[in-house]
């Protein structure tokens, strides 16, 4: 039983019927992909291949092929890790928290956002793995596995171990949540395949839908599970980046050792996650002609979240500066002076411009509802958020306590290559998702499409 407020604009435009929804979304799975999709996939695969070469070089020759040094032990590796994890926040936030708050506008975007989350977390996870000096041992030594090494056990004091738990839990829950949401849609595709006489596709999607039949009881259970998973995911949205921030906050390095990090990181994560969702959806809606499902209204709402989180992040930056001065601690003070004025000032000011100033443009309705402006700014925000992590990690490390060890960090082509590797991985995965999976949650969107009778009454 749907209740509509006539004050609100419809979430799906174009007078779509339930049948239209199935058709518009399933046809991308059924039809040959457009040429632009092939082109994008080809580029992604080339980037992925180059990135893979760089990854293999690192694994074969050692971390030394990166530009790190005795003073700066983390740079692009952990910057990229935090950046991708941050991006991975939007999906779960949209599906879980907005589900709990009954925000129906999330329905057209949550599928893609969740897929983005999954892929972003996979990309993020590659960095802690590759950045290890001895991956071949580290990938399982970092887990508290029963072993024959005597009393050896992981160190539960280490934030890196907390990361392992936080990320793996988040990934698992997000994956399950995403997949469960896909099940009814897979069944829809299967049913359509049967009707179209494509038996192979029908069998594959049947297997993927676990033989979904759509009984009323099944639907009831389905919705209960979705609600439970949403409840489970909600604290995870907050916990993951909180724990990632503790990699820094629990250390003794000035610029890292600050209590503001957990909320500041979470806000930043949502900020960058929404920006990434926008970037992807703005492309998807054009490529797959889904303008009626992902409307300007959706874009505007997401832009509003970007203003809010961007402002939170901006306040956090200013608070950091204030506290560094107010604390009277020489090292703390210098660390922030050095960010603003030192050799890496260019990265600090890039961050400030991209993250604090640029989202304020969304106060202007014209910009907020402009596709082009939103697209540009969504990329700008993610550049800014990359710089934020770079500023925190590199500018704090490169000049810490003992001036004799102060250095400057230069990336090599392998630092860049590893980053490209994750881009290749991400876009390859996303393009495959967009082709083979329904990019919009048909089952849920159907619930907000106005029926013919309602249209008449409207």
């Amino acid at each position: 039983m749907q209740v509509f407020s006539s004050v609100r604009d419809p979430l799906v435009t174009g007078g779509k019927t339930v049948g239209d929804v199935s058709h518009d979304i399933s046809r991308h799975v059924e039809n040959k992909p457009p040429r632009s999709w092939w082109l994008a996939l080809a580029i992604s695969l080339v980037v992925l291949a180059y990135g893979l070469y760089c990854v293999c070089t690192v694994l074969w020759n050692g971390i030394g092929v990166w530009g790190l040094n005795k003073t700066v032990g983390w740079a692009w590796d952990i910057t990229n890790f935090v950046w991708w994890v941050g991006i991975g926040h939007a999906g779960t936030l949209i599906s879980a928290i907005l589900l709990l708050f009954r925000q129906k506008w999330r329905m057209s975007i949550n599928r893609a956002a969740e897929a983005m989350t999954i892929f972003a977390v996979i990309c993020a996870a590659t960095f802690p793995l590759i950045h290890m000096g001895r991956l071949w041992l580290g990938f399982y030594w970092a887990l508290p596995l029963p072993n024959a090494f005597g009393s050896l056990w992981a160190n539960f004091n280490s934030p890196l171990l907390w990361d392992v738990f936080a990320i793996s839990t988040y990934f698992t829950v997000s994956l399950v949540f995403w997949y469960i949401g896909l099940i009814p849609d897979f069944a829809t595709i299967r049913d359509r395949a049967v009707a179209q006489g494509s038996m192979l596709r029908a069998q594959i999607y049947n297997a993927m839908s676990f033989g979904w039949q759509g009984g009323a009881k099944t639907w009831m259970r389905y919705e209960a599970v979705a609600l439970i998973l949403a409840g489970l995911s909600t604290p995870l949205v907050l916990s993951v980046h909180t724990i990632v921030s503790m990699d820094f906050a629990t250390s003794v390095i000035p610029g890292w050792h600050t209590t503001i990090f957990p909320p500041y990181f979470v806000a930043g994560a949502i900020f960058s996650g929404f920006a990434m969702v926008l970037t992807l959806l703005l492309i998807t809606r054009v490529v797959f002609k889904l303008e009626d499902y992902i409307t300007i209204y959706h874009i505007e709402l997401m832009n509003i979240i970007i203003i809010v989180t961007g402002s939170v992040v901006g306040i956090a930056y200013i608070t950091e500066l204030f506290i560094s001065w107010y604390s009277g601690v020489e090292y703390e003070g210098y660390a922030f002076y050095n960010r603003v004025q030192g050799p890496y000032a260019w990265s600090y000011w890039s961050m400030m411009t991209c993250n604090v100033i640029s989202p304020q443009l969304f106060w202007i309705k014209k910009i907020r509802t402009s596709i082009v402006a939103t697209f540009v700014l969504s990329i700008v925000v993610n550049i800014g958020m990359w710089f934020e992590r770079f500023v925190i990690i590199v500018t704090s490390l490169h000049r810490d306590y003992v001036p004799s060890s102060w250095t400057y960090f230069h990336p090599t082509k392998y630092d860049i290559g590893e980053y490209l590797f994750t881009f290749g991985l991400f876009f390859t995965a996303f393009l495959l998702f967009a082709k083979f999976f329904p990019v919009i949650n048909m089952a849920e969107v159907k619930s907000i499409v106005k029926t013919d009778s309602e249209k008449v009454s409207h």
């Binding site: 000096g133 580290g138 050896l152 160190n155 250390s251 003794v252 001036p403 004799s404």
Partner: protein, 1032 residues
């Protein structure tokens, strides 16, 4: 209920109740069938055997890798595998000398320490000495004798050389033996024998850094052509004019030790020497001075003249013309005068005229008989510049027929090297005895390679009555032969065993008057490494007879200033270049410039127009002096006198080996003759920029300590005294728990704290007596198998040194001007701070490791388990001292590092590795372990001897190498240990004496960045400068 009569039975046997059945009825199982007739081949046995066979075959397939190790078939009597043997010996390289103790493992020398029994070097070493153990395993060494490019047997070489020598000598042909200073009496005797056989032989000695001017000046002043013994330890006021006596002047190991004694300050010894240094380039000696004054190289003579005039006026002696006034010169004169009898003035110049005036000054000050002993001359630096110049002239004139080079490489390191090289071809016979085919050796007819000093018997007499034995610590690796043996064979002796020769010489020369039998005397000498006669040579006060006014006018006419003046000097790492092929020295940062693997030209920041030198990026400059032009990258050196350019010698080797070849340029040809001796300064130098850029490999690029008083604490002597020996700066932590909201860093703790029940290892480093010489850095490298990574990786800021010496310049800006304080002052004060793992009690690295690879020991050590490390580098990031080093690459068995790290990449080089210390693999973190292998070794020894560990049983490599005793290592739980007494250690809570929290009551003791609460186990002692006020 009716009872059932039914009987249930299991079998006929039970029903029938057979007696046989009843007997076994209580057993649960019936007995099995009887074994078959042939029990040896049952099915079970077959399965067992097959199983065993298959698993045996499978196990045999898992073959362990074969390591070629050859065990002793018969164990040598004195050699236990894994137990080191120590041999006292003598380091001789050119004219440099040190009495040493060589540590060998399974017959391989792996480490050199100083020999404390020598009263000359007193257990001191230098970076050069420490590194020389790797030169033994240099791949560029000659494998055996050669004629030209071809191998030859020793017999054939001897036959040919003797035949040629005889025929040439018969015709009266001139024979010359060219050498660096020879301080070995037995070598001299061998050469005398050679001279007796071939009477036309003359020995020509020269030194890379000549002190001939001092010899000549003393000849003029006192009638004795000597270099006297100096005793800096007795001096209250020291004035050095361009004399780098800590780094390279005459006998730096000895002087460093003496100097440090005067620099110690304690509550009981409240005075320290005052040191003025007048110099053009920033030397390590100038860096240690209380007052350092910039002069131009051409002003050295004038400064000395001025000082003479100031003092002569006080002493009522005639003054001379000349002289130039410099800041603090008058003050220095006043204080010298006030401290007559406890004053010392030294000049680095090799000009006789300058040295005569210095002698006159020391004469006025009463230094002779107190701080200078002419009755005990030193035997190093006996090089005769005039004789060498004469030799070159004769050689060019074709007047010489035979040249034998011994212990020298003049084609490379003599200013006339090119002339010698050109003339060598025309000679009837030329022989080189160097252990490598160096620049000189490649041009000679014959190569008769000498042993490395660690393979050879030898002796030395650094000073009269002070003898030192050189004992081989390994059988010669290659077919080399002692050069002395060659001399004796060529002079016609047969069956020469140089060991017997040395032994006999000692019997004949030094044994007389001994009460022991000779064998015991000899054994004792071998054991001690030195034999010192009770000296009968008391210090005398010779009468000064020099002509000061003649010297002053010579100075006035010889030195004219010019826009660009050049100083050639020995750097603190490469020295004179004779060991340039040693990667330990190439990778050792120069104590001042912190440059490695690179040759450079230094100028003052004022003269480095347009080069901000950030990240060591610079431009090439061309320098022309004495007709020689070189192209070198510019290094901006704070403290250098504007208008002065400095170039270290020792680079530009062409035949030294893969490590050193083609690094930089040879600047020895820029050395000129001035006033009858070699001058290492030059005027009228052309100095021009090029557009070519370059990056110098420096280990430290940030030069100031940013006014961070918790990193470097320093004060001046007066204020230290005035404040009743309180530290000037005490860091505190803000807290709400105290009334004044301030707490001492030690008072706050988040943890309960460790308890160290047995030992509590700790270290104290005295910033006052640390001269920055870097012997400890090399000692640490050798002891702990630290990888050498090469130039590219140093540029990438990845040197692996576990122990580094931070060198900080002062800044003129106030500490809160963060931009200004980055810039070093024009004439900065310098602090050297050895920095190594601080072994924090609350170690921040330990908590962050996800796999617990770095943990705390029960003795206070912060330990690193390489096997467990997965290389996240989180520990290094979280280290406030940045002392952790990551293995970015595989540094062993990797072609990429073959040149820079031969100790892990060549079969020969690997012999130097310390078998007690793991060679770290790629991807793991490493750092200073407080030489845990030495701690364990010391504990094992004590255990075997069934006693408690004594203080001094365990010493780290760095502390052992420290000539000045600035580094002290020991057990804080032992109240009698040197470190406990030095630091005045007491437990913070007397009820828990074994708790980690200890308080050091020594007023100078502080810990770096104390306020962050990591509680390091290394204390530093505040740097105290003996100045009148903090501002210069």
């Amino acid at each position: 209920m009716e009872e059932s009569k039914k009987i249930y039975w299991k079998g006929i046997e039970q029903l029938a109740n057979h007696p046989e059945f009843v007997k076994h009825a209580h057993n649960e199982f019936a007995p099995g069938p009887e074994p078959e007739e042939d029990p040896g081949h049952s099915r079970r046995d077959f399965l067992k055997m097959m199983g065993f066979g298959m698993s045996a075959v499978a196990l045999a397939a898992c073959e362990a890798p074969i390591r070629k190790a050859i065990p002793y078939i018969n164990k040598p009597v004195d050699l236990d595998p894994s137990v080191p043997n120590y041999y006292a010996s003598t380091y001789i390289n050119g004219g440099d000398y040190a009495s040493i103790v060589v540590k060998t493992r399974e017959g391989r020398p792996i480490k050199i320490d100083g020999n404390a029994l020598s009263s000359v070097t007193q257990g001191g070493t230098s970076a050069q000495v420490e590194a020389s153990v790797l030169s033994l395993y240099d791949n560029a060494r000659l494998r055996g004798p050669k004629i030209g490019k071809d191998k030859i047997s020793w017999e054939d070489l001897d036959k040919q050389v003797i035949a040629k020598l005889k025929s040439i000598a018969a015709q009266g042909g001139q024979i010359r033996i060219v050498s660096n200073t020879i301080i070995s009496p037995s070598t001299k005797a061998a050469i005398e024998k050679f001279k007796a056989t071939y009477p036309t032989t003359q020995v020509v000695q020269y030194d890379q850094t000549s002190a001939f001017g001092i010899v000549k000046a003393n000849e003029e002043s006192f009638g004795a052509a000597i270099i006297p013994s100096y005793d800096f330890s007795k001096a209250k006021v020291i004035v050095g004019v361009a004399a780098d006596f800590i780094g390279s002047w005459v006998s730096p190991i000895e002087f460093t030790k003496q100097y440090a004694l005067t620099r110690e300050v304690t509550e009981t010894k409240r005075e320290m020497s005052r040191h003025y240094q007048f110099e053009s380039i920033m030397s390590i000696t100038g860096a240690n001075a209380d007052y350092r004054v910039q002069i131009k190289p051409s002003e050295e003579g004038a400064v000395v003249t001025q000082l003479y005039n100031l003092l002569a006026a006080k002493a009522g002696r005639p003054t001379v013309t000349g002289g130039v006034d410099k800041p603090n010169l008058g003050k220095a004169a006043e204080e010298l005068w006030a401290n007559r009898g406890a004053a010392l003035v030294v000049a680095g110049s090799n000009d006789k005229a300058i040295q005569v005036i210095v002698n006159a000054i020391n004469d006025i000050l009463g230094s002779y008989g107190t701080t200078i002993n002419t009755a005990l001359p030193v035997n190093y630096r006996q090089g005769d510049d005039l004789a060498m110049a004469n030799f070159v002239n004769e050689l060019e004139g074709g007047k010489i027929d035979v040249v034998i080079f011994y212990n020298c490489n003049p084609v490379y390191d003599h200013p006339s090297g090119e002339k010698i090289a050109a003339a060598l071809k025309a000679l009837a016979l030329s022989v080189a005895t160097a252990y490598k085919e160096d620049e000189t050796g490649t041009l000679t007819n014959y190569l008769a390679p000498d042993h490395h000093f660690l393979e050879a018997w030898n002796d030395a007499e650094p000073k009269p009555g002070h003898y030192s034995l050189g004992q081989p610590a390994i059988t010669p690796i290659f077919k080399s032969r002692a050069a002395q043996e060659s001399f004796l064979i060529w002079s016609g002796e047969t069956n020469v065993d140089y060991f017997e020769v040395v032994k006999n010489n000692w019997k004949n020369w030094f044994y007389t008057g001994q009460t022991l039998d000779f064998q015991s005397f000899w054994d004792k000498c071998l054991y001690d490494g030195v034999f010192e006669k009770p000296t009968t040579l008391m210090a005398t006060t010779p009468t000064f007879g020099g002509n000061v006014s003649a010297a002053a006018s010579a100075i006035a006419s010889n030195y004219k200033t010019s826009q660009w003046e050049l100083v050639l000097y020995e750097s603190g790492n490469i020295g004179n270049g004779s060991q340039a092929n040693n990667p330990l020295l190439q990778e050792l940062p120069d104590p001042i410039t912190k440059a490695t693997w690179d040759h450079y030209v230094t100028v003052s920041p004022k003269d480095a127009s347009g080069i901000d030198f950030s990240e060591s990026i610079t431009k090439y400059y061309t320098i022309t002096a004495n007709g020689k032009t070189v192209k070198l990258p510019l290094l901006v050196q704070p403290g250098q006198t504007p208008g002065t350019i400095g170039i270290p010698v020792g680079y530009g080797r062409t035949k030294a080996g893969k490590v050193a070849d083609n690094i930089g340029e040879n600047v020895y040809p820029m050395v000129t003759m001035v006033n009858g001796s070699l001058s290492y300064n030059a005027v009228d130098v052309k100095f021009e920029a090029t557009t070519e850029t370059y990056q110098i490999a420096q280990t430290q690029t940030h030069n100031t300590y940013m006014g961070r008083e918790t990193v470097v604490q320093e004060t001046i002597l007066e204020s230290f005294k005035d404040k009743h020996w309180e530290r000037e700066f005490q860091p505190s932590v803000a807290t709400w728990m105290k009334d004044d909201h301030k707490a001492k860093p030690d008072e706050l703790n988040m943890w309960k704290g460790h308890e160290y029940k047995d030992h509590h290892w700790a270290m104290s480093i005295d910033l006052n007596t640390c001269t920055g010489c870097a012997a400890c850095v090399v000692a640490c490298n050798v002891e702990n198998n630290v990888s050498l990574v090469g130039r590219e990786e140093v540029i990438n800021r990845r040197e692996m040194h576990w122990l580094r010496i931070d060198r900080y310049y002062s800044s003129d800006a106030p500490a809160d001007d963060w931009a200004g304080v980055e810039v070093a002052a024009e004439n900065p004060e310098v602090v050297f701070q050895p920095m190594l793992c601080q072994h924090c009690n609350n170690a921040p690295c330990e908590t962050v490791c996800p796999v617990a690879a770095t943990t705390h020991s029960t003795e206070g050590l912060n330990q690193m388990t390489y096997n467990r490390c997965i290389g996240t580098r989180y520990c290094a990031n979280n280290c406030p001292y940045k002392v952790r080093r990551f293995n970015w690459f595989k540094y062993h068995d990797n072609k990429q590092f073959e040149v820079s790290n031969p100790a892990m990449n060549t079969d020969l080089g690997k012999m130097v590795l310390n078998p007690d210390v793991t060679v770290r693999s790629r991807g793991v973190m490493e750092k200073c372990s407080f030489c845990v292998q030495r701690i364990q070794g010391g504990k094992l020894n004590a255990k075997r001897e069934k006693r408690k560990l004594k203080d001094g049983d365990v010493d780290t490599a760095c502390a052992a190498a420290c000539s000045t005793g600035a580094i002290v290592f020991g057990d804080l739980n032992n109240p009698e240990s040197r470190i406990s007494k030095l630091l005045k250690i007491r437990p913070q809570d007397p009820k828990h004496p074994y708790k980690m929290d200890k308080v050091a009551d020594n007023p100078r003791a502080y810990r770096v960045i104390e306020e962050i609460g990591v509680k390091p186990n290394i204390w530093y002692l505040t740097k105290v400068r003996n100045k009148d006020s903090a501002k210069a």
